[in-house]
């Protein structure tokens, strides 16, 4: 399948400035974004559970250039969302899709193998990932170390693509039941508050979560740094850090596709995707809407309706 994908990209390459995909990074466990300009570059392409990045994040800045992009199912939803918001032009992007079997969580792997030195080799087959490092070999079941989002994945195949290679896979689940969220919310308020105060206290305000988010598009005008409006102070304290996450999640309500880049990028492993899960569920319950499925749809928070179907204001 990978070969077929490479051939397809090579065929399309002459028409494009470049194609973004994944290549091997500094070791066998870490893939890295790959910019393919020449057919030789295409040979470096990899596809598999290590392709953790959502490459759609690059697209808004490339608006106006003709580029190709390789997408997993979840990444394709970000592309759909960017198209819907006119942040990129459909005629400028060529989308290459392939069926995804799920990606790994490097955080979970690190928890198993610890902080090793150089990774010598990585193999995956039959649902097992084997990592060789410092002479030791670690075997892990893929389902134990896969990213949480893959557990409730409904779209393993690109929701939109110009070229789709390989056979479409059945979704992991038919319906997202938000069990993770329900479990978290079953705790009493004080515990949840303490949890977040503790988690957010670690935040170093690097804004990696924002920078990794494909839909954080305010560029130089992010509220995190702006003085006018001055939503967040420069004070060091958990309140402003927490406030930023709430603003981030609010700005993404109805737009976020829960690709999980924010949480993946966080260097101190704060589970910030949970905030977005909360909003995603609220949007689903209130508006019966899933972000990033249809570039032509009007997202509920970007439309004005005097009477919302599920918000019975008059009965309040």
């Amino acid at each position: 399948m990978l070969e077929q994908l490479k051939d397809t990209i090579k065929k399309a390459l002459p028409e494009l400035d470049f194609v973004i995909g994944w290549g091997m990074g500094f070791d066998a466990l870490h893939a890295t974004p790959l910019f393919m300009y020449e057919p030789e570059d295409v040979d470096k392409l990899v596809w598999g559970p290590l392709n953790v990045h959502n490459l759609a994040t690059y697209l808004p800045a490339l608006k106006g250039r003709k580029v190709g992009i390789v997408v997993k199912g979840c990444d394709s939803r970000s592309v759909a969302e960017l198209l819907q918001e006119n942040l990129i032009n459909r005629e400028d992007v060529v989308i290459f899709g392939a069926p995804c079997r799920g990606t790994v969580s490097l955080t979970k792997i690190r928890k198993v193998i610890g902080n090793t030195g150089l990774i010598e080799d990585v193999n995956y087959a039959d649902g097992t990932l084997t990592v060789k490092a410092e002479g030791a070999s670690h075997e892990m079941a893929l389902k134990d170390i896969r990213a949480d989002k893959c557990g409730y994945c409904r779209f393993p195949n690109a929701v939109l693509s110009d070229h789709f290679v390989g056979e479409k896979r059945a979704p992991q689940v038919e319906e997202d039941t938000f069990e993770d969220l329900a479990e978290f919310e079953s705790q009493p308020f004080e515990e949840r508050r303490d949890f977040w105060m503790k988690e957010m206290d670690r935040c170093i305000r690097c804004y990696a979560c924002r920078n990794a988010c494909p839909l954080c598009v305010c560029r130089d005008h992010c509220v995190a740094q702006s003085r006018d409006p001055h939503w967040l102070s420069q004070q060091d304290g958990v309140r402003d850090k927490f406030m930023f996450q709430i603003i981030h999640a609010t700005h993404l309500a109805g737009r976020c596709t829960t690709c999980g880049e924010c949480e993946r990028a966080c260097p101190v492993d704060i589970p910030v995707l949970l905030f977005k899960r909360k909003f995603t569920k609220a949007i689903k319950d209130t508006f019966d809407y899933d972000a990033g499925l249809d570039p032509e749809a009007t997202p509920p928070l970007l439309a004005f309706k005097a009477n919302e179907d599920n918000i019975k204001e008059k009965e309040w």
């Binding site: 305010c218 409006p229 001055h230 009007t298 970007l302 004005f304």
Partner: protein, 653 residues
């Protein structure tokens, strides 16, 4: 900045539970406050003069008044500032009456809260910018929606004052409910004799364009410059050709169609002219009952029409009208009384509504003015009237009084005696409400001269006795007994409710409506015909049930408001609008999508797409500001920073 704070006593309204002197003293500690005092009535002439003197003496450049709701007096104080030479927007109001003194009794807590509200106002004022309104031209045409007596009065007054008037009426004729009435209280003069000539005037007045059988589809724009889409519903008759001769109605074989003008008392024809004095007197086809339009057979009307006016191909048409002001006069509809199982829930033919009874009494009605029982066509000798059906009854969600039912019931009792001298009338009532000129005398006449028997009490049940009569059983609360009256006919004084689709129309007009769908006036006492949307006015029963004299009075009042508005050279726009910072704007267009008023234009600046606010269209709702992810749109006078400063002022700990 030098800020002055004025804390009003409002007589004892505020001073009664707030220590205004302490509030004033506390204010002196707030940033940039250089002067603070309490004052008896800030809005009175000496109160305003005191503010002006303080501005001059202390060289103030901003003022906070802590008093009542800004809805009433913000404009007053802005003018005061203007007279003192300050920009009127360098002003903030803290509402320490509705938000403090009227809702709490604890003087100390109230005083602290009042001081907090002043602190908030001060923090906001510190970030205010002087604002200047823009001027724009007025389109001196007015739209009147609804051609009942209120709308007719408003339209004629405007037209007489030289304004061009567009009238949109939902039915095929104007006249509203009054056209259906036989006689009118308290003078018992013939309704169509007094209304008819006014309807003709509408048709003939050179300044009035009438769209009957039409509805307002959408409204955009703003005071002085509205754009209105009017949907002319297909009548299937070319009104330019139709002479109203009625040949078609005679020959129409579809004889089970509803006849709404006659309140469904008798079946009508698929093609119909509501009544002889209809304006316009034109035929229209009710498509769902027309044999030609449903089954492609018949076509009789087309064959007999001497003017070749029938057109089965007709389609709804949308017409665009531009106006500067709008008067809503859409009246009321009757409550659906069939929810009352105790009155038979609509199963007994001889239980009729008051409006059906008016049609029975009317010479142009289906019985030619002879009162006949719907069941067997016999003249009733005993008529029972039941008042407050769907009025003053919480159990059916209609707690309000419809106002005119007591009076029209008395009228109908009188008319019953006139029509059938050997008849007896009984009226079940809760209270008699007759507070108009000559009204109480009128109800007395019904009792004393016309012998109507008034029984104070609710009716518990109406049921057929099996021998052609109805038994009306109720309480007589004055006698403390149960009463039973055998009736040939029962007339229900059905209450008023908002006209159908009023909320939808209100939303198009961007005006408020109450829990029952009646349109909300700007102020219950001081702005009875204004709304909270500039340029939109109310007349008649659409604002709440009212009788003809009151409806006509409001028609004239609304006309006077429009004439006053149009007498200005130019209008000033409210400068509290959204503003786009083009440095920040990335041209994503989200604001344009959410703006309910179409006030955002996407333009280009140096090749980059940018949003731009049309200041005269913007209503300052702030949706765009909340939507813009970049924070590139800010609402002038309500910037994020001002709101944040207010929050900070409140949450200091």
């Amino acid at each position: 900045m030098k800020i002055g704070v004025f804390v009003c006593h409002c007589g004892s309204n505020i001073e009664g539970t707030v220590d205004t002197k302490t509030v004033a003293e506390a204010s002196l500690d707030f940033p940039e406050v250089t002067f603070a005092t309490d004052t008896m009535y800030a809005c009175s002439e000496p109160g305003q003069d005191g503010i002006i003197e303080a501005i001059e003496e202390h060289k103030l450049d901003g003022v906070v008044v802590a008093s009542c709701t800004p809805r009433m007096h913000e404009p007053t104080f802005r003018k005061t500032l203007e007279r003192a030479g300050l920009n009127p927007y360098m002003f903030e109001m803290a509402n320490i009456r509705e938000h403090v003194s009227w809702i709490g009794k604890d003087r100390e807590a109230n005083t602290n809260k009042a001081a907090d509200l002043v602190r908030i106002a001060v923090e906001k004022l510190r970030r205010n910018q002087p604002l200047t309104p823009k001027e724009f031209d007025i389109n001196r045409r007015v739209l009147v929606i609804g051609g009942g007596v209120a709308g007719i009065q408003a339209a004629l007054d405007c037209a007489e004052a030289g304004l061009e008037v567009v009238m949109v009426e939902r039915e095929s004729t104007i006249g509203g409910k009054m056209a259906k009435l036989d006689k009118t209280f308290p003078t018992v003069d013939c309704s169509s004799c007094i209304l008819g000539p006014r309807m003709v005037e509408i048709a003939q007045h050179p300044n009035i364009t009438l769209y009957a059988y039409s509805e307002v589809e959408s409204v955009s724009g703003y005071v002085g410059n509205f754009e209105v889409q009017v949907k002319k519903k297909a009548t299937y008759v070319d009104w330019a050709k139709c002479t109203g001769c009625g040949e078609c109605v005679e020959k129409c074989p579809s004889r089970k169609a509803p006849d709404p003008f006659n309140e469904l008392l008798a079946p009508g024809r698929a093609i119909n002219i509501p009544f002889p004095q209809a304006i316009p007197k034109k035929a229209y086809i009710q498509a769902e009952h027309c044999i030609k339009l449903t089954k492609d057979k018949c076509g009789n009307c087309a064959k007999v029409c001497p003017s070749d006016a029938i057109n089965f191909e007709a389609k709804d048409e949308i017409i665009t009208e531009e106006v500067g002001g709008i008067i809503a006069a859409t009246g009321y509809d009757l409550f659906d009384w069939t929810v009352y199982e105790e009155y038979g829930g609509g199963r007994y033919p001889d239980v009729v509504t008051s409006l059906q009874y008016e049609r029975m009494l009317s010479a142009s009605g289906p019985t030619g003015g002879h009162v006949k029982r719907p069941s067997d066509g016999k003249e009733p000798k005993k008529v029972v009237f039941i008042q407050c059906v769907g009025s003053r009854d919480k159990s059916v969600g209609r707690p309000y009084c419809s106002g005119f039912c007591c009076m029209y019931t008395a009228k109908q009792a009188i008319l019953t005696k006139d029509h059938i001298p050997d008849s007896e009338s009984y009226v079940f009532y809760m209270d008699i409400r007759a507070p108009g000129k000559l009204y109480d005398e009128f109800t007395r006449r019904a009792m004393e001269e016309y012998g109507a028997q008034y029984i104070r009490g609710r009716v518990g049940m109406v049921y057929p006795d099996g021998e052609g009569q109805l038994v009306v059983r109720g309480a007589d609360t004055l006698m403390g007994t149960q009463v039973e009256v055998k009736a040939d006919l029962v007339v229900l004084a059905v209450g008023a409710e908002a006209a159908k689709n009023s909320p939808q129309l209100a939303e198009k007009l961007r005006i408020s409506y109450d829990a029952y769908g009646f349109f909300m006036e700007g102020h219950p006492k001081l702005k009875p015909v204004e709304t909270n949307t500039a340029g939109v006015y109310l007349a008649g029963a659409c604002q709440g049930a009212k009788d003809i004299p009151a409806s006509v009075g409001q028609g004239s009042a609304a006309a006077a408001k429009v004439i006053g508005l149009f007498s200005k050279e130019k209008l000033k726009s409210d400068p509290q609008t959204a503003l786009v910072d083009i440095k920040r704007c990335i041209g994503c267009g989200k604001c344009a999508e959410t703006c309910p008023f179409g006030a955002i234009n996407m333009t280009e600046f140096r090749g980059q797409p940018k949003a731009e606010v049309l200041e005269t269209v913007c209503q300052g709702c702030g949706l765009c500001a909340a939507t813009c992810p970049q924070g590139a749109v800010q609402l002038k006078h309500f910037t994020d920073n001002q709101i944040l400063a207010e929050v900070e002022a409140l949450c200091r700990f």
